[in-house]
Symmetry: C2
Subunit: 431 residues, 2 copies
């Protein structure tokens, strides 16, 4: 089929009639499908059920150093969990704090702490007139939700296939002391699926911030979440803490990770990796906030995986379940949309998302149309600060949760909505 923009008005009108008829059939199917959130599916959760068996009443819940995990204490996490998560994050266990079940909560708390008490002796952000934050777009809605909640001025930074536009990042960070942070999902990015190039990571490490309390919020949520086993289809990310240290910026980054998409999203363990100076600063507040996080769950994770090799083997099983889902969506998009000149989408090597770009001004209408036929997508605009995608073109596609057959139906319907909305839009422009 030829590109929509190359069609005559008559050809396009005929296409719209045909698409409307197809859409009507879907509406009659009374679908209830969800491609909105990056949630693991049931089969993925089942992979970790063995974790429910490793700690039972016959087991000793004592750490290697003699700590009884059931009792109070151990503010920053048990040592064996730091080793496991250290290997997962590619950081020294001494640079790690293990938290509760949510890395989002750790990020929120990190900003809240800077807001109430300041970072390493700097003025608390609540005492400043203005705090600005860099937001690579498209990005993760819950990141933007936190910085919006704290009233920060969010500045969109365009993403390309290598990461954020570093010229722009360098300019803002070096010139404006009100710029205090940037959100990054550096590997298998949410939602574009790309990983930051070596050059981009090195440029991050070598930033010269105007603000002493500027921090990179490095949310490495998908660090070991490959879709493929072949080395040439696995992305590699330069380790940012080491680079920052080399560049003389040892304290410039907070790195976050969790097991949410490794074991159970609601019941995993989250962690921060950062410099010893930052750790000391964090624990000054943490010591008032809690006596310690859930050590039994930390031990449960350690006993289940044994070591990082156990964890990477476990990740292969996740990949086996979700790879066919990504490929199905990609194949349907290719079949239904290639050559029409109305859409672009990413083909990631890992992570949880495909980023979809429709014609300008079409994203909201596409998501609405899909919803009316029973397929829920992430809200259009969600990938931008303030839910405001100025081009109204980006849509995040989350293929992991629905069963494969449902997913195929949902992706086909979605592609149909893309065609229908795009064809109508082009027709309008012809008027």
């Amino acid at each position: 089929m030829k590109a929509y923009k190359e069609m005559t008005k008559e050809e396009l009108e005929k296409e719209v009639v045909a698409l409307k008829a197809q859409y009507k059939k879907y509406q009659e199917m009374d679908l209830h499908l969800n491609m909105a959130r990056g949630k693991p599916c049931k089969e993925q959760l089942d992979l970790s059920m063995g974790m429910m068996d490793v700690l039972n009443s016959n087991e000793d819940l004592t750490c290697e150093d003699g700590t009884d995990c059931r009792n109070y204490g151990v503010l920053t996490g048990i040592e064996e969990a730091k080793v496991l998560i250290g290997d997962m994050m590619e950081n020294n266990p001494d640079n790690i704090i293990i938290f509760g079940n949510s890395s989002l909560n750790v990020m929120y708390d990190t900003i809240a702490r800077a807001y109430t008490h300041g970072i390493m002796g700097n003025t608390p952000w609540c005492k400043l007139d203005k705090v600005k934050w860099l937001c690579p777009v498209p990005g993760y809605d819950r990141h933007f939700g936190i910085t919006e909640h704290f009233g920060m001025e969010m500045i969109p930074i365009p993403m390309n296939e290598n990461g954020p536009d570093m010229d722009l990042v360098e300019k803002y960070v070096s010139e404006d002391p009100a710029v205090k942070g940037i959100w990054c999902v550096p590997k298998y990015s949410n939602p574009t699926g790309i990983s930051y190039s070596d050059e981009v990571v090195c440029k991050f490490a070598r930033l010269k911030p105007a603000a002493a309390d500027f921090r990179i919020f490095w949310d490495n949520a998908y660090g070991i979440h490959h879709l493929y086993e072949d080395a040439d289809r696995q992305d590699y990310l330069v380790e940012i803490l080491a680079e920052c240290k080399k560049a003389g910026n040892p304290d410039m980054v907070y790195k976050f990770a969790s097991t949410s998409k490794i074991t159970f999203p609601g019941s995993g363990i989250a962690a921060i990796a950062t410099s010893l100076n930052n750790l000391e600063d964090i624990t000054k507040t943490m010591t008032h906030q809690t006596i310690g996080h859930d050590k039994v769950n930390q031990l449960r994770h350690v006993r289940f995986f044994g070591d990082i090799h156990g964890m990477t083997e476990h990740m292969k099983k996740h990949a086996e379940i979700i790879r066919p889902k990504f490929e199905a969506v990609e194949e349907i998009f290719d079949t239904e949309l290639s050559g029409l000149g109305i859409a672009k989408w990413t083909i990631p090597n890992g992570g949880y998302f495909i980023s979809f770009d429709a014609l300008d001004g079409c994203a909201k209408k596409i998501v609405e149309k899909a919803k009316k036929a029973g397929v829920l997508m992430t809200d259009a605009g969600a990938t931008w600060p303030y839910h405001n995608d100025p081009k109204d073109s980006n849509i995040r596609v989350a293929p992991t949760y629905p069963p494969l057959e449902d997913l195929k139906t949902a992706a086909t319907l979605f592609a149909l909505c893309v065609k229908l909305v795009s064809a109508k839009k082009i027709l309008e422009e012809m008027q």
Copy 2:
């Protein structure tokens, strides 16, 4: 033996010589005993090991409403956990949010939220010149640690056998709009062990705060933690949410509780109970902070206890283990110290502490002397804001953690230190 103050100088000097000889013997024993923290002992933790078995790989981790506890979602906690904890807290499940493993963390977050975003539309506390906080004394050091960390001016309020001095509370709360909160451990109080009388609770409910965002922080940490089964040795506390509602102050109280001293201190579940207005206010921030707390652990608690009756039966087993410890300490204090006119202590019906009052100016020296002989007590002063006990008399005694025989040794040594320091002090005053 007669009271020290009634002894002649010679008698007292002789007593000091004898006490010093005894003390030396203890020093030679190379003791390492700990009566510092309110930690359950190993036997208490063993009571909950069955909780490690109720969720295994053969079990369905699905809630009654179909929620898969392993996955993301359910911000405020699963319904069956709200029912169980609602029964524990004597509140409607609809008034409850279930959090992670630490009620201290919930209290910290509640203050942090008021500080950063304000309570129900009121000015965020970080924007105020001064925030004042009422601190019943002696009280819980970790409470005071939070309010000190946020720079609040802490005002000590004397405790008596019925609770805080309500005349003083009423005066501060009604006259000063900078007074934003008060810490309360209303039942089996930390450390005095007393429970607030009906009249005190009703006076709390009927406060007329000058500040619209004044809140009572009602930390009912020991709500079902009786030491005795006899009804006449169990304290009863009037339910504060209901009283506040009746008094036209429905939003004035945040009530906190956890299972930390019911199951595992590090791996329990914590909760808040409050009005629907407050809940709505809290969830506005929570929705940015986390996708939800650990539902698997919530389900684990529900499946282990079944219902509140299961939980109260479980608490009887705790009492059987720790009651002899409290009684041993009380008996030793009685034998060693009664009639000497140098000490008073509480005899609680529940909770985790005995509050000990030495002669003025003796607490620090007693704790130091005990430490030098290998017995660690809570730091003298810890029960006061800023660690500043103006009389230097109060010491918190925590009998639960050490094995009974160790505890007896520790209590006897402690009593010896009390006698030695007191005798010397009285002698000095005779000079």
